[in-house]
Structure formats: C-alpha cells, structure tokens
C-alpha cells in the first residue's frame, strides 16, 4: 500500500515537473508595433528549441528559436507595413501575438497622378493632381505629411498649394495660365519631388478674318494670323474651312493653319459668295465682284 502510494506520488511529481517545464518554455514578449525595416528582438522564456513564425499578407518569416535567449530580427528584414501574427511553437502550446509594422515616416517615393497632359489656357481648376506618399519600402505613409504642389512655366504666373495628406493621399486643382506653353507640375513631400509636364494650348480663335485677291482664273484666299482672345497664336494644324457658293453649288476647301494663317484657292466665279470658319468660330464673308 505504501509502495503504491510512493509510486503514485512519484508520478504526480514527475508530471508536475514536466508541466512546469512546459509552462516555462516558449513564453514570448515582443513589441506591439515596429517601424518597417527596423531591427527588434523577441524575448522567450524557458529552455529548449522552437520556432517563431511572423505571417501576414505582406510577408512571411520563420526563425529557429532557442528559448530563454532573445531572437533578433535584423534591420531590413520585416519591411512591409501591415498586420501580422507572431506564432511561437515548440513550447507547451503555440503562443500567438499580434504585431503591427508601421510605415517609416520619411517619404521616399511619390506616386503622382496629374491630368490632363494638354489643355486650353484659362481653364479654371482644369488641372488636377493627386499624390500617394510612400516610404523607402513602398509602404503608404498613412500619418499626415505635407505635400506642396507647384505649377510653373516659362510664361504665366506660378501657382502653389500646400496640402496635408490624409491616409497617405493628397490632391489639388489648379487653373491653366493665360499664356500658352509648357508648364511643370511638381509635387514635393519630404524633399522628394515628382514632375509632370502640362501643355497649355491656345483656346479657340477670338476672331477670324480673310482677304481675297484675284490670281488668273482663281481667287487667292488668306486669313489674318489667328489668335485666341488672350493673344496667343492658334496652333498650326488647326483646320480652317473656306466655302464658296455659286448658283446653288458649294465648293469646300479644308486647309490646316501654317505659320498662323490659312490659304486656299477657289475658282473665280463672278457673284460667288465665299465664307470662312474654324471650329465653332465663323469669319467674314466675301461676295466676289461681277464683271
């Protein structure tokens, strides 16, 4: 009876020691948050060996662990911001902790969307820009950051706006200048810049006027230099249409603008009416003299 009791007690003692060993092994302590790419350590208790997994959609790691010794995660290893589970196995039971990896706070990359690349002058809020700000590991920096937008060109007044990001994004709208030409649209955050080119082109011609003169059996037609209402030359290639009407028939000639003017020849019918237009702008009308 005494012998049986001794065996029973020994068994209980053995189990208690075993349980104690399990209880002491593997308990981990790690920071709740770390900055992307930074080094950190995970503390474990007890003795024996195990493994630590750090898993999330952004990354997956596994490290062998010697319980009782700190595990170092080196700089640059865990560099994708996000929500992770840290799972320690090898102890009495798997132990799980949550770990958030934060983006670094210094901008390194800007994703700059600017539209349009070409637009008429004097268009109110016609240019828009949106920026997403990333750290060096291409993590979106969700903490507020200051972004400046600058629109400047060889002609026209420079415009500037300063905007705070919200959840990593900032946007602005600006008006095209009154002068044609190339403008630089630049977004800057934390010393990092991204540039887009915006081409500002003249608007519709402000007025359209042509003259006519006889050249043999033809009439030579020519417009005055075409300009928009701000005085900018209308771009070459703009189509100008001359129309001659004579005894119920119509002759139409489309010509592109060259060096600011459009020229064409039409038959010289006495009594013909000649008109000119480009886009929605109508020019003057000429009635060719009867002889």
């Amino acid at each position: 009876m005494v012998k049986t009791a001794k065996i029973f007690l020994s068994g209980v003692l053995f189990l208690a020691v075993l349980q104690s060993a399990f209880a002491d092994s593997g308990e981990m302590s790690l920071p709740r948050t770390v900055v992307a790419g930074s080094a950190f350590s995970v503390q474990t208790a007890g003795s024996g060996r195990g493994a630590l997994y750090i898993v999330g959609p952004g990354q997956a790691l596994r490290r062998d662990v010697q319980f009782g010794e700190p595990l170092q995660i080196a700089a640059g290893v865990l560099d994708n911001a996000g929500h992770y589970l840290a799972v320690l196995v090898g102890g009495s039971s798997p132990e799980t902790e949550e770990l958030d990896v934060l983006p670094a706070d210094h901008p390194a990359v800007l994703s700059f969307l600017a539209r349009p690349s070409r637009l008429p002058i004097n268009l109110h809020d016609g240019i828009s820009g949106a920026v997403y700000v990333y750290d060096v590991y291409h993590n979106l920096i969700t903490a507020p950051a200051t972004v400046s937008f600058d629109l400047s060109g060889a002609s026209g007044t420079a415009q500037s706006r300063t905007v705070q990001t919200r959840n990593g994004a900032a946007w602005t709208q600006m008006s095209s200048s009154s002068k044609e030409g190339i403008a630089d649209f630049v977004a800057t955050a934390g010393g990092i810049s991204s540039k887009r080119i915006i081409q500002q082109v003249p608007g519709d011609p402000c007025s359209l006027h042509m003259t006519a003169q006889k050249a043999g059996n033809e009439i030579e037609l020519a417009t005055d230099p075409l300009r928009d209402c701000s005085g900018n030359p209308v771009p070459d290639g703009t189509i100008v249409t001359f129309t001659e009407s004579y005894r119920g028939t119509q002759t139409t000639v489309d010509v592109p603008l060259k060096r600011g003017i459009a020229q064409a020849e039409v038959p010289a019918y006495p009594g013909a009416t000649i008109s000119v237009a480009t886009g929605v702008v109508m020019g003057n009308e000429i009635r060719w003299g009867e002889r």
């Binding site: 948050t33 997994y53 952004g58 009495s92 820009g129 949106a130 946007w171 709208q173």
Partner: protein, 166 residues
C-alpha cells in the same frame, strides 16, 4: 496564470477545425468621401465588389501558394508584395488560410482624374497557419486595411493593400 493546453491535444483540436464558411457581412459608407469628383453609385458598387473579390483571390493564393491567383485582382505594389509573400511561404513550406468574416468599408478618396479610389476597411477575419499540412494555430484577427484601387479595362484592381493600426 496562462492556461496551457497539452500540445498533442492542441494539434488534434486544430486539425479538426475548419474555417467556417459563413456569409461575409459587408457594410459600406461613402459619406466621408473626399475629392472633387462625384462617385457614381454604379462605380462605388463595382469598386466594392471587386475589392471583396480580391479578398477571395488573396485567400486562395495564400492557401494554395499560387501567385497566379493574384493576377486578376491585384496590380502594382500590392501584387508585388503579395506575390513575394506567397513565394516566402513556398520557401518555408507553410500556408496561411484567410477567411474574411466582416468588412466595414469606408470610401475616403476618389481622385480628381478618376484613376484611384481609396477605402479604409475594418475587417474581421480568421487566419490559420499551416506548416507542412500541420495546423499550428487558428486565430481571429481584427485589422484596418488601407486600400487603393485603380481601374483596368474591365474591373477595379487593388494597387495598395496595407494593414494599418487603428
């Protein structure tokens, strides 16, 4: 004192657990949308639909360790990072099974040119870690995800997918 479970028992239990195939609940709020551009209801619905589909693709890719399953719904940085994670898992011989349980989606930004929609999603999900077909743990997680979608020819694709502490 922490309650401990004998490892064998734990493994048996974990092996028996299957991620429940419950209906995912989804809430969408666009009342705090920023930006000068009006977000049409049809566009909003399409973006949210494609985002939820992206979670399914993510779950399948991570569970089967197949990068190709990400191609339809992810692009750019998100595709690069998730693909790298799948390759990490392949190398380590592990898999992760994600099951999204609920989404509380807040549309926060529609860029002026219409080329990106940003949303914040307070998502609740189960995640299971499997090492060489042995389930190591099953956990329920809550996280806020910052998501940016951009349009392709036929759908919205996730360009940024990043967990963010609330």
């Amino acid at each position: 004192m922490r309650i401990r479970v004998i490892p064998v028992l734990c493994l048996c239990l974990a092996a028996g657990i299957r991620l429940a195939n419950a209906q995912t609940s989804v809430q969408v709020d666009a009342s705090k949308l920023e930006g000068p551009r009006v977000l049409a209801k049809q566009t909003e619905r399409a973006a949210v639909r494609d985002y939820l589909q992206a979670w399914k693709s993510l779950s399948a890719a991570m569970n089967q360790n197949r990068v190709d399953l990400l191609d339809q719904d992810f692009v750019g940085i998100a595709l690069d990072k998730l693909s790298a994670t799948v390759r990490d898992q392949q190398r380590l011989g592990i898999r992760t099974a994600y099951q999204d349980l609920s989404h509380d989606v807040h549309l926060v930004f529609y860029s002026p040119e219409g080329l990106s929609i940003q949303m914040l999603d307070n998502v609740e999900y189960n995640v299971q870690l499997i090492d060489h077909d042995k389930v190591l743990t099953t956990q329920r997680a809550h996280a806020r995800y910052v998501v940016v979608l951009t349009p392709s020819e036929v759908r919205w694709q996730v360009r940024i997918f990043q967990g963010d502490p609330q």
